[in-house]
Symmetry: C2
Subunit: 408 residues, 2 copies
């Protein structure tokens, strides 16, 4: 008998993070890869956790991704993640792969677990070998604990200005389920020094295949819908670990409270993604683009991302300039077929274009709205039911400054 679906009840936990779900510990230490900041971090689950992961689409995948994929492939379970910042261990050939395997081995040895239960991630400069002496000392020094979420969040940052975390709670079978997350990434998605990494922990009991399906669907609506500069990294990865310690009956999409879990996971990923966009290199504002009336969700997402990724839209928002012609421009070259005679564009609640006809608006009002630190652009294509959202940031002098002199 099909059970009635319950209303979705998900609560944000302001102070929560990756150690909020039952049975997860984390830590971070300064191993000397960076001048002073913590640079090696670890997450550990008390028991092996069902694992789902998505990786960069780049053909050049860094060594740690190769090793992590190998680990996950054995039994779709992960018990620990080891991460370093400062060096991406990408384009580093055979030695780079050996080093990533050694990071895995040293972590497994420290925790007395199988090597295939360890995932490895690195983020930083491409083409340089890891300083393995420092990495070894770092792994040895790590002391994961329930209080270590902040140390981990710090250890994975590169050009990021703020730590990124999220936590949501929900209920399944009367059991509290908690989902926590940490991410980094500032030039998204950025091949040199600001690779996007996301780590999500949960005590939910769920099979790894179902978790993978949920993650894939959610990634397309969250992490894949943010852009800072349109570039894609060699090291991007989002990894979810579900250790089952909440004690719920294993979750499936048929469960009446499946939506609670899906929504809590989605909101965790959306928060982490938005924080990456907001902290884009040099950014002063978060830009959100909401597209509706598209022929499909996919087309709405494409158009939303095209608008939020346009250098011209990004510079106009930085300059508090309600230059809607640039939004139209981005829609026009998105590759999606739209009815160009019936498009609405608004910035905040200010209508700029209705049915493709320019509307008179108050420049003062528009400028005042654009001066806020969150700007929302609305587009209605009047073609169908497809809705989609994308997030990005403005393009500023500081973006140029950060990236012009990065490596030197």
């Amino acid at each position: 008998m099909l059970q009635t679906k319950q209303p979705v009840t998900v609560e944000k936990v302001l102070e929560g993070g990756i150690t909020s779900p039952k049975g997860f510990l984390a830590g971070g230490t300064h191993a000397g890869l960076r001048y002073a900041k913590k640079d090696v971090g670890m997450i550990v689950s008390e028991v092996p956790a069902a694992c789902a992961a998505v990786y960069t689409q780049s053909l050049f995948q860094a060594a740690p991704l190769t090793v992590t994929k190998e680990s996950v492939s054995v039994e779709q379970k992960i018990q620990a993640v080891i991460v370093n910042s400062a060096c991406a261990n990408a384009c580093t050939g055979e030695q780079g792969l050996k080093d990533a395997y050694e990071m895995r081995a040293k972590t497994a040895e420290k925790l007395s677990i199988e090597e295939n239960l360890v995932a490895v991630a690195s983020t930083g400069v491409i083409g340089e070998l890891l300083p393995m002496d420092k990495i070894r000392l770092g792994i040895a020094a790590l002391e994961p604990s329930e209080l270590g979420a902040e140390d981990f969040q710090t250890a994975i940052l590169t050009t990021d200005i703020v730590m990124k975390k999220a936590c949501y709670e929900t209920t399944v079978d009367g059991q509290k389920i908690t989902i926590g997350g940490a991410s980094k990434g500032s030039g998204m998605i950025h091949p040199n020094m600001a690779t996007m990494l996301g780590f999500v922990t949960t005590d939910a009991n769920i099979d790894s295949n179902l978790l993978q399906e949920a993650l894939k669907s959610i990634t397309n609506q969250t992490f894949n819908q943010i852009t800072v500069d349109g570039d894609t990294s060699t090291n991007d990865m989002v990894l979810v670990m579900a250790n089952g310690l909440a004690g719920n009956v294993p979750l499936t999409p048929d469960h009446p409270e499946w939506d609670n879990f899906y929504e809590a996971l989605k909101r965790t990923c959306e928060d982490l993604a938005k924080e990456i966009a907001r902290d884009g290199e040099g950014a002063t504002k978060l830009i959100e683009v909401q597209v509706k009336g598209a022929s499909s969700k996919e087309e709405a997402n494409i158009i939303a991302k095209q608008i939020v990724g346009s250098n011209l839209v990004k510079t106009a928002v930085y300059g508090n300039d309600a230059n809607w012609g640039r939004i139209i421009g981005a829609i026009g070259y998105s590759g999606v077929e739209v009815d160009v005679s019936n498009v609405d564009v608004s910035i905040g609640s200010i209508h700029m274009l209705i049915g493709s006809q320019p509307k008179t608006f108050s420049e003062e009002e528009a400028t005042a709205y654009l001066k806020q630190d969150e700007v929302v652009i609305y587009v209605d294509l009047h073609q169908g039911d497809g809705v989609g959202t994308a997030w990005g940031c403005d393009l500023t002098y500081d973006y140029v400054k950060i990236n012009a002199s990065y490596r030197t």
Copy 2:
């Protein structure tokens, strides 16, 4: 009997331009759309000229493009072009279309020619109506002459800093053939105030269909291979007029000297395209990317353009930073399948990566090379015979400045 092909002999004419080919006049005037700069321009051929044209891929095509396409469709001949800067006449609805038709009618009337022999182009801000009183006075005031090329070149500029022109001579059937060109565009390809426009004149005798084929093939190797900010305009257009006054036998690809004509046309377009890239908004350097060893010419072109369009590569070049990891990053997300284990990357003559292995190089030498005002990046994919080139510019503080405060 198949005639033997001759060696290609094409000569650049440094001082030449759109009035260098026989029978072409041009002019430009200040009609008051801009504060002081000339803003309305005209090209006239003594006789109707075979015409070829390519237009923006954007779904939102401005009114002047609609009118020009209609003109060209009648007999594939054009005798005059009328252009204004400052206002793009895009997203301007019915009134905008009426205004573009009126620009065409007034020009035809002035020159006593059929309306369908007139092409119309506009470039400037989107969503504002043309000040037709000024446009009418401007058309009336124009006095096209053999000395008017510079006035025309100035009249079509927007945020451009320098005029863009080119001229080549070659020989067909013992007759001198001249090709001249003018272009504008600074944020390429840029929906607001720096639309890319190109106008090419030649006295060659060639059928419009063959001219169209040649233009399409050449555009893919020249105008379509430049990028300043990845945005595409509502108004982009390249128009070629061939009036036949050189008196050669009509050119066809079978003609032993076809390559002379094709190469002269290609070099004209390449010069105009490179000048647009070099004059990109805020740019301090021209960046050229040469890709070889790709599986096809198309794939080589895609990769070259992806590299030259990467914000991260552009900022690194601005900062004189030999950050080859960003070049690899752009190759990796280009969507083209490459053998990631065998890629060479050089900046100038300095090898950074050979067979995907990083090479030690002198940072001082690399920085010194990058400080030049033309930077060439070489990539070899070792997969096939496909070669391709793309041009762009660095991304600077001034790009942000120009575009953050443009409309206001």
